[in-house]
């Protein structure tokens, strides 16, 4: 037990979840029994709450089954699955996950690049330092989900459609942590480290490449981890209004049709994707920092 804290906690959460399923879904069962004019024994009620088609709270195994069905099973046996049609099925979360992933990556790259450039501007330019940062913060207080449809309409009208509008929203959310982290990182060298460069009368480029950039690496990676998760959120927000596939669409279309299980499956798919992306960044971080001698 105590050897595997994470497993124990997960098991406890699952147990809680299962227990919560019963009261959350019970009302519906009693209503139905009422409407049918019959009694509902407790045992049957409990069993039923675990197997509703449109539960208020689906049981964990229902979500797992849905995840399995809408990935492996759909691709293997679906009419448009990989097996029969040779291409990924638009009913599978793999297909939608890939759409989301590609927009996320594009947005992440744009956001990170922009964030780094902005950070360099802030660190090297006094005017930018004093004027840009409050606006960067203010920008994050704008409810982007409210703007997303308009951004998409406007971009569509100038002929930009598909991946790019979503990626732009993703970039909008991911640039901020990168700016904050990089500004901190580029300012991380202490006075002595900077003075050392001065005694060498090193050029600005040397100071940047040999001092500021290396010191900013741990900060950069920490922000990349936040940034990539934010990019995923941005992509999903961007996908909600454009019904062209992606996990965001699955979230919402599940909601249109009251298919709670589908919402939960899409939600978990998104969380798994997020955790995977953050994990990959963490892996790269460990490698890079190790090579730089900054980890252990």
């Amino acid at each position: 037990m105590t050897r595997f804290p994470v497993l124990t906690v997960v098991a406890a959460l699952l147990a809680l979840w299962y227990i919560a399923v019963i009261p959350m879904n019970a009302q519906w069962e009693y209503d139905q029994a009422n409407r049918a004019g019959r009694d509902l024994p407790f045992g049957e009620m409990v069993a039923n709450t675990m197997a509703q088609e449109r539960p208020v709270l689906p049981a964990p195994h229902q979500v797992v089954v849905e995840l399995w069905n809408s990935t492996v099973v759909e691709e293997a046996t679906g009419r448009r699955g990989l097996w029969r049609s040779g291409s990924l099925s638009n009913r599978s979360l793999i297909y939608h996950g890939l759409i989301t992933l590609s927009a996320t990556m594009l947005g992440f790259v744009i956001g990170t690049g922009g964030g780094i450039l902005l950070a360099i501007g802030i660190v090297y330019n006094k005017a930018m330092d004093t004027s840009v940062m409050p606006w960067a913060i203010a920008s994050q207080t704008i409810p982007i989900i409210a703007l997303a449809p308009m951004i998409i309409v406007v971009l569509n009208s100038v002929g930009i459609a598909g991946l790019v509008p979503k990626a732009i929203i993703a970039a909008y959310l991911s640039f901020f942590p990168v700016v904050v982290g990089m500004v901190k990182g580029l300012r991380a060298p202490d006075a002595m480290q900077l003075d050392l460069m001065k005694t060498y009368s090193a050029s600005g480029n040397d100071v940047f490449a040999k001092l500021r950039l290396p010191t900013s690496m741990p900060y950069l990676f920490a922000s990349l981890k936040v940034g990539i998760a934010a990019a995923l959120v941005g992509t999903i927000v961007g996908e909600l209004p454009v019904q062209e596939g992606g996990l965001g669409v699955r979230l919402l279309s599940g909601s249109y049709y009251g298919q709670t299980i589908q919402i939960w499956a899409a939600l978990f798919a998104a969380a798994i994707l997020a955790a995977g992306l953050v994990g990959i960044v963490a892996l790269i971080e460990r490698r890079v920092l190790k090579r730089m001698g900054m980890a252990q």
Binding site: M192, Q193, D195, L196, M197, K198, T199, Y200, S201, A202, S203, D206, K210, L211, P214, T215, M217, M292, G293, M294
Partner: protein
């Protein structure tokens, strides 16, 4: 002191003043400093905490701007001398870049100054040998003890053969035994290369053992209270510390220090 042909003046400060403006009002860190340092001299700065030793060294290296008086280095301004890469500076703490190996750290100034790859490797090897760090080239700073790090930072300052070596309490963090050994090494190096060295220390024996000139400073405002030209010979075995001349100089330094304290009224 030196009998024939006085070597040329390398560092010349006249009426040097430096006042920091802080929230709590101005701090007069250097007041009316007059000092000439000749080529090949080994000058120690000693004085209580906050008397301006570091500030003076930093001013020479153009890391601080004096607010009054003149300072010339090799006949130029400190800033020009810095741009001509005249200084090797060893900071109070080792200050190695943690993402570079020991060798990478020693190569840093060489890369910046545009030495060839081969030259870099050759010089790094030579100075690391000098500070007895051969075999640790590929280690990262945190894999070394504090004393080894400090030696690496000395190697870094030596690598590009600046004429003027400025060292701010380089041995402060070391224990007595290691310190003695590094003191001997430093003296040998100095004798061999004829560099001009400015050296800050808290330790009276260290100052006396190493220097041809000892500058005693006193705080609030930071100023020079005594300049002692050492009569000790260039060759200095460790045992010289028991000689009466040594003890006499040490005594004079201690008296100078104490006077500074009493005057400042702390």
């Amino acid at each position: 002191m030196s009998d024939v042909a006085v070597p040329p003046v390398v560092i010349e400060a006249q009426g040097l003043n430096l006042t920091f403006t802080t929230n709590d009002g101005p701090v007069h860190a250097l007041k009316d400093i007059n000092l000439s340092i000749h080529k090949g001299e080994f000058v120690s700065f000693i004085g209580p905490s906050g008397c301006g030793k570091t500030t003076f060294l930093r001013t020479i290296a153009d890391l601080e701007q004096p607010t009054g008086g003149t300072l010339s280095v090799n006949g130029m301004s400190a800033s020009e001398a810095r741009k001509a890469r005249a200084y090797g500076y060893v900071f109070q703490a080792a200050g190695l870049y943690p993402w570079r190996t020991i060798e990478g750290n020693v190569r840093l100034p060489l890369e910046i100054m545009g030495f060839s790859k081969a030259d870099q490797a050759e010089r790094a090897k030579r100075v690391l040998e000098l500070v007895e760090l051969s075999g640790f080239e590929k280690k990262f700073p945190w894999q070394l003890s504090g004393g080894m790090q400090q030696r690496a930072s000395i190697a870094r300052a030596l690598a590009f053969d600046a004429d003027i070596l400025l060292m701010d309490e380089p041995f402060g963090a070391l224990d007595e035994i290691v310190r003695d050994r590094l003191n001997e090494e430093l003296l040998k190096l100095w004798a061999r290369t004829q560099k001009t060295i400015g050296f800050v220390t808290h330790s009276i024996p260290e100052a006396v053992y190493l220097s041809t000139k000892i500058v005693v400073m006193s705080p609030r405002p930071g100023r020079i209270t005594d300049i002692i030209d050492s009569p000790l010979p260039k060759e200095r075995p460790l045992e010289i510390r028991d000689s009466p001349e040594f003890i006499a100089i040490a005594h004079r330094v201690r008296e100078g220090l104490r006077a500074g304290y009493e005057e400042a009224g702390e």
